[in-house]
Amino acid sequence: MSDGKLVSFEVRASDPGAELFLVDGDFTLVDRGIGRKTFSVPSGVYKIRSRSGRTYADRIVVVREGMPAILLDPIPLVSGMPFAGAPKTHEFHIDAARTAPQQPPLAVGQGSGIVIVVRRWTGPDPAPGTALTQPPPHPGRGLTLRAVNGAVLVDLATATIPDRGFDPSIVANVSIDPGGYCLAATLPDGRIVEQTLIAAPGWQTQVFLLVDAGVDPGAGVDVINAAITYRRPAEPFSPTDQGLRNEEMARRALEDNRGFLSAELRELLVQPGTSPMLALLGAHLLLQETRRAKSKPTPLTAPAEPAQLLVRQIVGNLRQSLGRHPDVEALALAAGDSTTTLQPFGLPPMLRASWDLLLEASLEWPQVFVPGSLAALVGERIWGEGSWLFWLDAKTDPVDRAGLWQGRARELLTTFATSQVTPTATPRAPGIAGAAWSALSHLAESAVKRAKVLFTSRARPPFPKLSAEAGLPTVSSTATFSEPDAPRDLTLTREAVTDEQRKQLASRLGIPLGSVNAWLEEGKQ
């Protein structure tokens, strides 16, 4: 039986970025850590929850004096990358990914490479000899690699499917000039979504995509959960590569705003040889951690060095390894890197978090995007969720996105116009006699108020019956609460829009300030 004496024991997760939670016998959270943690608690029965990415595993343990360290098993990760033992992965998917970087390349340029692996998953391997009723759809259908001007460089629907009927995978190994490209995927409704892929000199940008047809046999490629990494061409994919697991976990942590940076990983991030994708994601996590710490009195782990210093160090390393890269430059801006020579962005970054940094930067530097460039145009067409930045191709999107945000901007402008605060005079400080009188009257006032509360009952009228008004179920019938209509002529309002209000518009609409300014100027003419 527990004597109340504290017992210390260490818990080591298989992943250095796994979150650890210790829960007691009443299911109350006792303590938490990341990767490896020594807990000190009275002996008893406890539950350890470990979380890697979006998967968690529980282990119930008996804590007693002299117990050995607890080593936790690896947690299966659902990923576009075919990790060993992971769900939604066949052995032959692993083989395809392993050999992908060494496939004879399709030469579009030279100096860099983009490798795309797409695999289909419907379920576990069928019993030997089971015949397929019909051939599965091509995993690469609707997927193209494009130049920034929209020209199709590689159509993945034409990639050869190896001789295997069940859950096939395809590989495209493209030798390409360093620079920016777009990966485009056609949605079931015919619209096309795009994302940036930056090919860095001497690196392969490797993209792993899953077509999860387990529930919906007609499912398309899942670009939102794409696993993307940078690897040297000579470096084959390894299904047990802890570095790749770390990258995938970091991506999930960034997406879900969760803890990931253990002391070990924090140290790793600033090393020059660290994988570029882990460094990019890690730098964003450091900035995210700072934002989280601002909103909580005690951060989960107190960073040894201010995040901005670490991010600057990471930016320096990444510039060395990747060269000029929009995500790296967005980080440099956010970290206040003094070596940054302000160059407007023509290409959107790969990560959504980098885009958010650029939007923020646009509030102070409206020229952050090159006018008319892809980066300047995608702001109003942002699509989807996840860690990568996606936008809708204007040619296939039937919605007038510019009209949409401009309509909202008009509504906001009206709100600004109607909520002008009348400045109130600040009372002068009273003298001592005045202060004493004021205190006395305040006391008397509150005593009267207290007495009144005791003897006066609060109003308790029942709710108005909405159903009784079912005869007037129109929006206009509830005019008391209707939103203000936007005036048709906004010329006057536009002229009166202050710099602060322009910034508010940009940040509430998620549109770069430059675009907001251009629209306001256009309206004046």
Partner: protein, 364 residues
């Protein structure tokens, strides 16, 4: 006292947009929560102070103008509380409306892309196709009453998806009102899904559709979330713990098999002294005499032939012996929710196990 408590309970299952069809559980969930909140053994909110808004209260509709309840119509219920605050203020007794406000919102929902810490419930007139996401923002409404300090406690429960959707213009109809000392107001907000995730409903063994979150919540409020230190109370802390612990027990068999299992989210200020009683259990008499006990759960031990006939000791969370058994296959036990260990005669290692919901079991 509960006579000073208020509740707004909303369940929307009918939407104008066909893309939003298919939800079956929101009305069941809202009705069930309403029944609990007005029940003397539950929230004990006086019926005139509890507003239940359901899709089926309104005629079927085929046009956007006919779709009810709309965001604007629902706002009337919230506005009613503001009117009461105003009336109280004019009486000179302050703008307090009551002790506690319950908000329960169930239906389709989303997290706005630019403010994903918020969660919005889509209202009947919402249409996805043209991005007309008409909605009520739950945390905004709750926070409005928090800042205005119209109540001492605000409890917000939202059983809806929190997928990220682009909605730049959030519907925030009230002007901010900040009362002095509003930081003293206690808040407990719980959501059926984590941000960017979907909530879950399924046809449960009773044949009806229910949200997993609502089922977990009500199971907790009815007793499974009783505070182990004070069994006659469900406290904010014990409810939070039970929402997290009990949620997997109500998942559909398919969702339990998923590697990335759905999870709820609870936001509640965790600092010393911030805990408060959410619900009382048992009758007043039972509470006075300390006769309210934690609910016992049935636990089945599946015993291997090698262990049949052996003696075993059941130890509690602090490893104190609480029962001695002669193992047979199966062996049935009745235990409170919690963590335990089984010490089997002749075995060096204790076997730890968990009792967190109906159907708990262990193989030894």
């Amino acid at each position: 006292m509960a006579k000073d408590d208020w509740a707004i309970v909303i369940g929307i299952k009918s939407y104008f947009d066909p893309a939003l069809a298919g939800l079956q559980g929101p009305e069941n969930d809202a009705r069930e929560f309403y029944d609990w909140v007005v029940s003397p053994a539950g929230g004990a909110v006086p019926k005139p102070q509890a507003e239940l808004i359901l899709s089926s209260d309104f005629p079927p509709f085929t046009t956007v103008p006919g779709a009810m309840p709309t965001a604007l119509a629902i706002t009337k219920a919230f506005q009613h509380l503001r009117d009461i605050a105003e009336a109280n203020g004019q009486k000179g007794i302050g703008r307090t409306v009551g002790r506690r406000l319950y908000l329960f919102l169930s239906g389709h929902g989303f997290a706005p892309a630019r403010s994903d810490d918020l969660t919005a419930l889509l209202t009947a007139e919402a249409t996805i196709a043209n991005s007309e996401l008409k909605h009520i923002v739950g945390p905004y409404m709750a926070d409005f009453f928090w800042r205005a300090r119209f109540f001492e406690q605000i409890l917000l429960f939202m059983d809806c998806c929190r997928s990220i959707m682009d909605c730049a213009q959030l519907y925030m109809p009230f002007e901010d009102e900040r009362a002095s000392g509003y930081d003293q107001v206690r808040r407990f907000y719980a959501f059926g899904a984590r941000v960017a995730k979907e909530s879950r409903e399924w046809q449960m063994p009773d044949g009806a559709y229910h949200g997993v979150f609502t089922r977990t919540l009500l199971d907790g409020l009815r007793g499974s979330a009783a505070d182990a230190r004070s069994p006659s109370e469900v406290t904010a802390e014990s409810l939070r713990d039970q929402i997290y612990t009990g949620f997997p027990n109500f998942l559909s068999p398919q969702d339990r098999q998923r590697v990335e299992r759905p999870e709820p989210e609870v936001r509640y200020e965790q600092k010393p002294g911030s805990n408060f009683t959410v619900a009382m259990l048992g009758s007043r008499l039972q509470r006075v005499f300390g006769r309210v006990q934690l609910a016992k759960l049935a636990v089945t031990l599946s015993v291997s032939p090698a262990h049949v006939g052996k003696r075993a000791i059941v130890r509690d969370k602090q490893l104190a012996a609480i029962a001695t058994l002669n193992l047979a296959d199966p062996t049935s036990l009745s235990l409170n929710k919690g963590l335990y260990a089984l010490e089997i005669e002749g075995e060096a290692e204790l076997v730890p196990f968990e009792v967190s919901g109906p159907g708990s079991g262990l193989r030894v």
